[in-house]
């Protein structure tokens, strides 16, 4: 694959929960130069995301991601993203997906194959992630009966390595549901996957739940922003 091309990942489910956690904890996780978005003063957003990819450059795999929601970067001549994420821990079910995520997207991964199960019902989906039988997290996102809309949402993701910060634009297409009915749930277990998070301080109910089905994730090439990172 070419580093300059848009890479596409076809997914069956993309599930996301937004959970409040303390801003000092978010700042500890974020590199300098990135600002956490605060839904309430003093509270930032931990995004817990799970994908079931049916097809990609590295085949089918499942993935769970912990991110902090950050202020998007406005770039000259580029469309405004809906929001921006700084993923600080990724877990995948295959070694190929893990190598791909590290080499291409410079994202930190747990160095192990995870078990990620999607338990789907009409009104909710429950994701359970574990490593060798040791639980990592359980995430439930519920659909309170909303109309699913076909959407094309633009986001930014940030990553970093020793050279500085990188930004990638990504577009998610698919049928979309978003709710703030607080019917979902999160259980984060003590595990290196969640290292750096004060587990007792993370809300166990999402203030926002998102669920996309049968869609396509397109990730644009990484853009290095070294000057930005040096601040």
């Amino acid at each position: 694959m070419n580093a300059g091309e848009i890479l596409q990942y076809r997914y069956r489910d993309a599930v996301n929960g937004f959970f409040e956690f303390p801003t000092p904890n978010a700042r500890d996780i974020l590199p300098r130069g990135l600002q956490p978005v605060e839904p309430h003063h003093g509270s930032s957003i931990l995004a817990v995301t799970a994908f079931e990819f049916e097809d990609s450059a590295v085949g089918a795999y499942r993935e769970v991601v912990l991110s902090v929601v950050v202020a998007p970067r406005l770039l000259p001549g580029e469309p405004m993203p809906r929001s921006a994420l700084y993923p600080f821990m990724v877990g995948t079910t295959t070694a190929a997906a893990r190598r791909h995520g590290i080499e291409v997207w410079k994202l930190p991964h747990l160095p192990a194959d995870l078990e990620v199960e999607f338990d789907r019902h009409d009104s909710q989906v429950r994701i359970a992630a574990a490593e060798g039988g040791r639980p990592i997290l359980e995430l439930t996102v519920a659909d309170p009966g909303l109309t699913w809309q076909p959407v094309e949402h633009r986001y930014q993701t940030w990553s970093q390595d020793g050279s500085g910060l990188y930004l990638a634009n990504l577009v998610l297409r698919g049928a979309f549901m978003e709710s703030e009915e607080e019917r979902g749930a999160l259980k984060l277990h003590p595990h290196p996957f969640a290292a750096g998070i004060e587990l007792g301080e993370v809300a166990d109910t999402p203030f926002r739940e998102q669920w996309m089905r049968d869609g396509l994730e397109s990730i644009h090439p990484l853009q290095p922003l070294p000057a930005f990172a040096e601040r």
């Binding site: 309430h40 003093g42 970067r73 406005l74 770039l75 469309p79």
Partner: protein, 422 residues
């Protein structure tokens, strides 16, 4: 040089919150994308906000459309003129006398040359009404909460607020530099968790009636928890003063808990139909805030014209309890009529009745339809309320006639049926 919203990008993918956080190398980079969205927003329905009014905010109002420039005469369910005071002849006459005596403005800070005898008279009247040793006036409800919290709390202190408190409370808490935590709306069990064995100065902040949902604070449980954690309690009764309680002193009186509350806040812009806010409490609190509530210290005093009108309004409210009775009769009537048609009003039990639409995309179309049908109702959408909890907020007033309320419900039901909501 700024980012852009693609022309074909869906308007509803963005909202006000999308434009709050952004980073770039230019302070003005956000202006262009915001303006593009704003201009679309006006056309898609946001022009319904802040339509200029050319009449009193009475039960019928004259409005001018922002986009079409048409002139409208509408039945008003949007203003929070709960007791109809803004148009009472005695109130207007008192304000005119105030204008003649004092001129237009106070021309000074209350701590320098801006205190006039009408301000002190109004403070005494409000203290007598609230049955508290002292009341301090502020030039607005917003500046009341900002000045109170910034003036009283310090870095290292803890402020625990209901997550639905007014922005003025949030801003005051931020300005104080105290640690701020929010508990889930009206959930005493969640309040309990927020103390986390914290030592030092603690203040719990709640409202009597919450302005978006119209629900009443679960004050007895909140007082019990706050006391157990040695926290002081502040209640903002902006939407409940002159409305709740046997004497109209608010939700704290309604629950018989007035003496358990350390700081009482009220506004003069809602049931009193004027402007300004006040803090009721001890004389020592008054003295301290006089020195440290910067939003009052560094603002011009409340206009003596408004103070004169409000003073008369307070006296009317005290001597005419039938006004409050009339308001509650109207609320009961409105609720009964809405219930007949199975209109979803959420958890409200007050004079604020949310008419739940729960569809962020369609609410503006419905709002246009309501306005074309003769009703003035404001759509409330995210981020003012949670996503997909969009609603119209009905404010019932004692000034509404039964016929007006019936007409309003007829219009509502007809439009909601046409739009497929009912």
């Amino acid at each position: 040089m700024a980012g852009q919203i693609e022309a074909e990008m869906e308007f509803f993918d963005y909202d006000y919150s999308s434009f709050y956080y952004s980073s770039s190398d230019d302070v003005f980079a956000i202006l262009e994308p915001y303006t593009q969205w704003y201009d679309q927003a006006q056309v898609r329905g946001y022009a319904l906000y802040a339509q200029p009014m050319s009449s009193r905010p009475a039960t019928r109002v004259d409005l001018r459309e922002k986009l079409g420039h048409g002139r409208l005469n509408l039945l008003n369910l949007s203003s929070y003129n709960y007791l109809g005071m803004s148009a009472r002849p005695e109130v207007i006459a008192a304000a005119k006398r105030g204008l003649d005596q004092y001129g237009l403005g106070a021309a000074g800070s209350p701590v320098l040359s801006g205190t006039m005898d009408v301000h002190l008279e109004l403070e005494r009247e409000l203290a007598s009404f609230k049955n508290k040793p002292a009341v301090m006036l502020f030039p607005s409800g917003y500046s009341t909460n900002v000045g109170l919290l910034q003036g009283l709390m310090r870095p290292g202190d803890l402020i625990v607020c209901d997550q639905n408190v007014h922005a003025s409370i949030v801003d005051g808490a931020i300005l104080s530099k105290a640690d701020v935590r929010f508990f889930k709306h009206n959930r005493p069990d969640d309040l309990e968790k927020k103390f986390n064995a914290r030592r030092g100065k603690k203040l719990v902040v709640v409202e009597g009636v919450y302005s978006m949902d119209g629900d009443v604070c679960r004050l007895p449980e909140i007082v019990e928890i706050a006391r157990r954690h040695d926290a002081r309690i502040m209640i903002d009764e902006a939407h409940s003063t002159f409305i709740y309680g046997e004497n109209g002193r608010g939700v704290a009186e309604h629950f018989g808990l007035e003496d358990e509350i350390d700081i009482h806040v009220g506004t003069l812009s809602k049931a009193m139909g004027g402007q300004g806010g006040f803090v009721a409490g001890s004389t020592s609190l008054y003295k301290y805030l006089e020195g440290f509530a910067r939003s009052r210290l560094f603002s011009c005093s409340l206009s003596p014209v408004v103070a004169s009108g409000v003073l008369e309004a307070v006296r009317i409210a005290r001597r005419e309890p039938e006004l409050r009775a009339r308001l509650w009769a109207n609320v009961r009537h409105m609720r009964a009529k809405l219930a007949e048609h199975q209109v979803d009003v959420g958890d409200s039990t007050s004079q604020i009745i949310p008419l739940m639409i729960r569809d962020d995309r369609r609410i503006f179309d419905i709002a246009h339809h309501l306005q074309r049908s003769g009703l003035y109702l404001q759509p409330i959408v995210y981020p003012a309320v949670a996503k997909h909890r969009s609603r119209f907020r009905i404010s019932v007033s004692a000034a509404h006639t039964t016929e007006q309320l019936d007409e309003a419900v007829d219009i509502l039901v007809r439009v909601l049926r046409t739009e497929g909501v009912l």
